[in-house]
């Protein structure tokens, strides 16, 4: 609101502070902005003839919020902005039941213990680790958890409140990405813990080596499989997302077993900027972009089913 150059000097023109006026008028945000724009455009302290009547008439034509909504408009964050995005992300954690967190942690723990046992056995010379290829249990399981987690997070598409969720002030893509990020963050956290446990027990690893191991061995496949699951779940159905992502993972593991360097499970000793992770990251970005379109298509599909 410009205050300079105005005959009233600004203060006299609007004695009520804007937030107080906003609450007093009890208008929706954009309606209030429209009133504010009218007031700001007045050329003098005295409104021109008819301006007040026109504004009052216009005010009578817009909905006046109810008692609760007035308090909400005064207190709550409205759509848009970082705070809103964080609130939306936090709300999406409610979609996951305790069973999901517990099951994922338990499976990770078992996979970590088995991997740890194999590594210790290899170090003591009791087994030849190369017989297992590079796909050690934890490296295999993490992407599976991610793929299943993403499909699970989108289960409302099939038999949940997806329509209600879509009618809330969030974009479909934002909601889907929020769930994707939550799953990825959880699986990455589990991977980091596992990396620390395994690194400390088998051989002393420097911090950068642990990071390399996490990125090349787990994070890249987790991202890739999670993105495939997200896209297929939104484009087709959560069940299809599960089948496609797990099928693809099985194919990649098999390919890697017979032709080292083709599969997605990298050797923790490789430079983490090798071609394979870079290719996977590119593929992931492409899939995320595709998923943002697929979220809209999922909404259309729901509409078509009803029609």
């Amino acid at each position: 609101m410009p205050k300079t150059g105005h005959p009233c000097g600004g203060r006299e023109r609007h004695p009520a502070p804007w937030p107080a006026m906003r609450e007093e008028l009890g208008l929706e945000g954009r309606d209030f902005d429209a009133v504010a724009a009218v007031l700001a455009a007045l050329p003098s302290c005295e409104p021109p003839p008819g301006a007040a009547e026109t504004t009052v008439e216009w005010l009578a034509s817009v909905p006046r919020p109810g008692a609760f909504r007035r308090r909400l408009l005064a207190a709550g964050p409205r759509p848009g902005g970082l705070w809103w995005t964080l609130a939306v992300l936090r709300s999406q954690t409610r979609v996951f039941s305790f069973g999901f967190w517990a099951a994922a942690a338990l499976v990770s723990l078992i996979a970590t213990l088995v991997t740890l046992y194999l590594r210790l056995a290899a170090l003591s010379g009791r087994i030849d680790l190369t017989a297992f290829g590079l796909a050690l249990p934890f490296g295999i399981i993490s992407p599976v958890i991610a793929a299943l987690g993403v499909s699970y997070a989108l289960r409302s598409l099939e038999n949940g409140p997806w329509e209600v969720e879509l009618s809330c002030p969030i974009t479909p893509a934002g909601m889907a990405m929020g769930r994707f990020v939550i799953v990825l963050a959880y699986v990455t956290g589990l991977s980091l813990v596992a990396a620390l446990v395994m690194g400390g027990r088998t051989q002393p690893l420097a911090g950068t080596e642990i990071l390399t191991a996490v990125v090349t061995t787990w994070l890249a496949p987790v991202l890739f499989l999670g993105a495939v699951s997200l896209y297929a779940s939104l484009r087709f159905s959560p069940l299809t997302g599960t089948v496609v992502s797990l099928g693809l993972w099985a194919a990649l593991l098999t390919a890697g077993h017979y032709r080292p360097g083709v599969g997605l499970v990298a050797d923790p000793g490789q430079a983490w900027l090798s071609v394979m992770p870079a290719a996977m990251l590119l593929a992931t970005v492409a899939l995320l972009l595709a998923a943002s379109r697929a979220a809209g298509q999922a909404a259309e599909r729901a509409g078509r089913a009803a029609a």
């Binding site: 929706e28 945000g29 954009r30 309606d31 009578a60 034509s61 817009v62 909905p63 006046r64 919020p65 109810g66 008692a67 609760f68 909504r69 308090r71 909400l72 207190a75 709550g76 964050p77 409205r78 759509p79 848009g80 809103w84 609130a87 939306v88 936090r90 709300s91 409610r94 979609v95 039941s97 069973g99 409302s156 038999n159 949940g160 409140p161 329509e163 209600v164 969720e165 879509l166 009618s167 809330c168 002030p169 969030i170 974009t171 909404a299 259309e300 729901a302 509409g303 078509r304 009803a306 029609a307």
Partner: protein
Amino acid sequence: MRSARSRSWLELDGIGKGYADPFGRRRALRDVSFALGPGVTVLVGPNGAGKTTLLRILAAVVRPTAGRVSWCGRAVAADPVAYRDLIGYLPQDFRSYPDLTPAAFLAYVSALKGIPREMARARTEEVLRLCGLSGLSPGGRCVALSRGQLRLLGLAQALLNDPPLLLLDEPTSGLDPEARVRIMELVRRLSAGKAVLFSTHVLADAAQVADWVLALDEGRLAASSDPDGFVAPARGRVFGGVVEAAQAAALRTAKGVAVVGQVPSGPGRCRVRVVVPGAAPPLPGLQPIPPDFEDAYVCRRLLAGPS
């Protein structure tokens, strides 16, 4: 009609919606235009008329393939997220997350609607009470709710943000008579200062609360009028009386006659209520009677032709 038509908040202009399916392109809506203001507007029509598609478009869940929807003069398509902040929507096929309790589900939807946590708790209790669900067991999960209770929970979530526009797709479907009466009273009470649009097959409900009636048929707007105007074409076309059972059977198969009521009335006789497109009774002895909403609906269908 109260002031609903004089103040238009929601305006639809030439709305069309087509779905591409494997058997060709299907038009769910064609050139639907109307305006909606404060008060209760009831949407009626046969199955497949496009009621649910229309409500989904108004809930910004699906996009129309033609036309424009605007709220207080602003195009919904320009900022659907801000528009969704203003609505409460009960889908026809409302579902919840079965593993959540009703209160937890409402807390989740509150978060999606941007209601701060401290306000959400009190609001959740309030809407549960409004919808007659405050007696539910606190630990009971949504999976244990009856169909009617789930419907009430759907209504409760639509009310959470105290929206100026309520879109209810068959809110009384699956409810017992007591709950239906409660919902209709609630809709009536809520309509003060709000625009409520609900679709229904129960025309008695429509008659109870309607300020305005919209009828859809094969994707087109077949009628848009106040309740009196909706019933008007049926005046002089509804007849009732006691006839022989054989005559009643003949009426049921007669062309251009719709039997809307038939109850036994002594041995071999029954009391019938019929609607005809013309002004003459189909049998001598039948007397003209005042039409209700159901008669009016049937009469409009008869007058529209064999489709």
